[in-house]
């Protein structure tokens, strides 16, 4: 097992290099660079701009820039943000944490909602409840999450009009004040509660398509496992139905569901990204969009590199998890 993990880790290195190099290459596609916009500013003369370019290493060939960035990344230094005038990690860190709050809560939401519904649908196949959830799942898969996010905002605004105060917050991640106190001077648990309250709608929105997909997978898995011979044997032995369902069917059916966390992650990252933009959640994607407009290279590179690393680790973990839950899977 250890050998397998090490091999997988080594396997990740070229992928990481390729992905970051590709991203770096794409950023070079844009005309001009970060200091180009200063050329229109009369307070800078040509020499100053060239000096800035030299200072940021923008006059070097881009392979040199990439090598320099990579060597910084290996030392834990992500470079300097040109528009925030500070260390990139300082800019990315809070945004990354915000995004992770959203993604983690969404994963929880997806699993907590989709597994019971999948089980129910499979056990009551073709009943009205099953049909209802199937339809809901199809709608959930089809609704674009930025549209859904806008609908939710509209809904929150409507509730506010009806009740006179905010039942759900209209966008954002934190209230300015909690019970009269400034957000950051309020007690820690009130702060977390406030964030959770803000997260309700974004989590529902970004979790919906994942939930819909996973419900379908769970249902199919349960249906397939139900037909297995060992289930019939279990019934023939006279085991109570509850034991048959939860110990024989569910335990086998749930294995691919656990593994699918690796496939869920990239979609979730993207999906949550759009929700962040629409609902004003200060996550990584809005930061990236800002950085794109000002060609703030190292913010873009930092965000991408970190999310690539997170995704790769997520995939690896889900593979290991799968190997751990399912003793039939052997890695050599």
């Amino acid at each position: 097992m250890t050998a397998y993990i090490i091999r997988r880790f080594i396997h990740l290195i070229p992928t990481f290099l390729g992905a970051t190099f590709l991203a770096f290459l794409i950023i070079q596609l844009a005309p001009g660079d970060f200091v180009t916009r200063l050329e229109l500013d009369p307070s800078y003369n040509h020499q100053q701009i060239e000096n800035l370019r030299h200072l940021f290493g923008l006059d070097q060939p881009f392979t040199v820039q990439y090598a320099k960035w990579l060597s910084g990344f290996l030392k834990g230094y992500l470079g300097i943000s040109l528009s925030y005038q500070t260390d990139v990690w300082q800019v990315i860190k809070p945004r990354l944490l915000n995004s992770l709050v959203l993604v983690t809560l969404s994963i929880l939401f997806i699993y907590v909602v989709s597994i019971p519904i999948g089980i129910y649908s499979a056990l009551h196949q073709y009943s009205w409840g099953d049909r209802f959830w199937t339809t809901v799942a199809f709608i959930g898969l089809a609704i674009p999450n930025f549209f859904f996010a806008l609908l939710m905002l509209y809904f929150a605004l409507y509730l506010k009009d009806v009740f006179g105060h905010e039942i759900f917050p209209i966008g954002g991640m934190r209230s300015l004040y909690i019970a009269g106190l400034d957000f950051y001077s309020a007690p820690k648990w009130r702060q977390w509660l406030d964030i959770l309250w803000h997260a309700v709608l974004p989590v529902i929105v970004s979790g919906t398509s994942g939930t819909a997909g996973l419900t379908r997978v769970m249902r199919t898995q349960m249906l397939e496992t139900k037909m297995q011979d060992y289930v019939r044997t279990a019934r023939a032995k006279g085991l109570p139905e509850r034991v048959v369902i939860y110990k024989h069917i569910l335990r086998n059916a749930i294995i691919p569901i656990i593994a699918s966390i690796g496939f869920l992650l990239p979609d979730l990252f993207g999906g949550a990204g759009l929700v962040e933009v629409v609902m004003g959640w200060p996550g990584l994607t809005p930061l990236m969009l800002d950085a794109l407009f000002s060609i703030d290279v190292y913010i873009i590179m930092g965000s991408i590199a970190i999310s690539v690393v997170l995704l790769m680790i997520g995939n690896l973990l889900s593979d290991l998890l799968l190997a751990w839950v399912d003793p039939r899977i052997r890695y050599s």
């Binding site: 950023i27 320099k68 990236m288 060609i295």
Partner: protein, 491 residues
């Protein structure tokens, strides 16, 4: 006589159906397939006839009627008499109490709505000059009154017309992008699967350094084979044996060009990097770059480096998949959005970006099938009959996975529609004055979170169409999978 004939034919299987006929039967049996199919047909027709259906041209704007709500259509006069449907003139005025802009109807004069009227001229299908519109009236052209069935957007453009114009882009970009992605996916996936296990040389050295055992057994005589045993000469002999000399020489030219270019890139990078590094970084850099260069020169002279082309292509798809899809999409289009491009070019650009981001998954699927099929008897038979690699791949193997490809494409279609609308929604895809559903939807939130409440038509109409087209494609894909999956035949 006639009776005898019918008797003879009886039971001779006049009802045997081809694979595609059976698939069509299964397709029709799917509960929602027909609904989904007809909705899509209607949407595509509406988009095709957008100029005819919409009363206004795509870019016609009314500066004084920004964010006008849907125009009310009256069926009765003030006295309650039923008349031909008409609209009233709408004016924008500032409410002096709230200082908000409000739209007021002025129903002193009625503007009746007629069907099939002459209006703004356009070119039907791009080349037939016409000015017939589905509905409207003489007042549409003169601007005395307006008919905005679904309101207007931020430039005072008719949303109803723009939805159908936008449909042209939103509905076709998915098909075109999936075609391009499919082409890439089939080619690369097919090559990957078919040639899996065969080595492709990146470089062949021209000298052979005798191994230790050779030196021990033959002594200095081993050096006599320093040329003849080199990777270059072995490859040459092999090429002569197989009669592929010209291919071998072309390959060799490419190998050397690639290798020399790589060395140049490494040298330039090293020079630049060393000039801006100090201390430990400098030392490590010298080791890494120096090692790399030494290895490259050594490989050029003595060694050989070959990769499995399958490995290479699959690794590239992994690299593409390693970056979160949305990030890859937005950096690609964000960087290219900096160029000032005409609408048509931008359309092609968005299309290529979507295809570039998504070919990896298709290539993996195709590769999997080809790996399976190339061991099949009919592939072996074709080879035994003397068919070439490419003929076997494109004439024998790929047709075998046609059904799967249709399924994969139809299941991927909603993804493309979604991706295009997300990009346009973020302002990185299709841009004004062209129209697409995502772009139209992005106007809903223009001016802050609460702007939604004041102009819900900008939220519901474009969003509804994105939703419906994705839903329809989902059902269609589902039905096609049920219909075309050979495993389904057993049921």
């Amino acid at each position: 006589m006639a009776e005898d004939k019918t008797n003879l034919l009886e039971g001779l299987g006049e009802h045997s159906l081809s694979h595609w006929q059976k698939a069509w039967l299964r397709f029709r049996r799917h509960p929602f397939a027909r609904w989904a199919g007809s909705i899509l047909v209607i949407l595509y027709l509406m988009a095709l006839f957008a100029d005819f259906i919409g009363p206004y041209p795509e870019a016609k704007s009314f500066r004084k009627l920004q964010f006008a709500p849907p125009t009310a259509i009256h069926f009765k006069t003030e006295t309650g008499k039923l008349v031909r449907p008409y609209v009233c003139k709408v004016k924008r005025a500032r409410n002096l109490q709230t200082f908000k802009l409000e739209f007021k109807q002025d129903c002193n004069k009625h503007y009746p709505i007629y069907f099939l009227v002459h209006g703004f001229p356009y070119k039907f299908l791009g080349f037939i000059p016409m000015d017939l519109h589905l509905f409207g009236g003489p007042w549409v052209m003169s601007g005395k009154a307006h008919i905005f069935l679904w309101g207007t957007d931020d430039f005072g453009r008719d949303l109803f017309s723009r939805i159908w114009f936008g449909g042209r882009i939103s509905l076709t970009i998915g098909i075109l992008a999936s075609m391009v992605a499919l082409l890439l996916g089939i080619t690369l996936g097919g090559i990957s699967g078919y040639f899996a296990g065969q080595e492709m040389h990146l470089i062949r050295g021209f000298l052979h350094f005798p191994s230790r055992s050779e030196l021990a057994s033959e002594g200095a005589a081993a050096f006599r084979r320093v040329f003849s045993e080199s990777s270059l000469m072995r490859g040459w002999r092999n090429a002569v044996y197989e009669g592929q000399v010209s291919g071998y020489i072309v390959g060799l030219v490419f190998q050397y060009a690639f290798w020399i270019l790589s060395i140049v890139v490494v040298v330039i990078t090293m020079k630049g990097f060393l000039s801006i590094s100090t201390g430990l970084e400098l030392a490590v850099a010298i080791l890494v770059f120096g090692g790399l260069l030494v290895y490259m020169f050594w490989a050029l002279i003595f060694g050989e480096l070959a990769v499995d082309i399958d490995e290479l292509i699959m690794r590239s798809t992994e690299v593409l998949a390693a970056i979160p899809g949305l990030f890859l999409l937005i950096i690609l289009s964000g960087m290219l959005a900096k160029y000032d491009l005409p609408s048509a070019t931008r359309f092609m650009l968005v299309l290529s970006i979507l295809a570039f981001v998504s070919w990896g998954g298709l290539a993996r699927t195709v590769r999997g099938f080809v790996l399976q099929l190339r061991e099949m008897d009919y592939a072996q038979a074709a080879r035994a009959l003397g068919a070439g690699d490419w003929r076997i791949l494109f004439r024998h193997l790929l047709p075998g996975i046609l059904g799967y490809l249709i399924i994969v494409v139809s299941l991927a279609m909603p993804g493309y529609i979604l991706a295009e609308s997300s990009l346009s929604f973020l302002g990185l895809g299709i841009q004004d004055p062209a129209s697409s559903w995502g772009l139209l939807l992005s106007k809903a939130q223009q001016g802050g979170m609460t702007a939604l409440r004041d102009r819900p038509w900008l939220l519901f109409f474009p969003g509804f169409f994105i939703f419906v087209s994705i839903l329809a494609y989902n059902y269609l894909g589902d039905a096609l999978r049920d219909a075309l999956d050979p495993r389904a035949e057993q049921h």
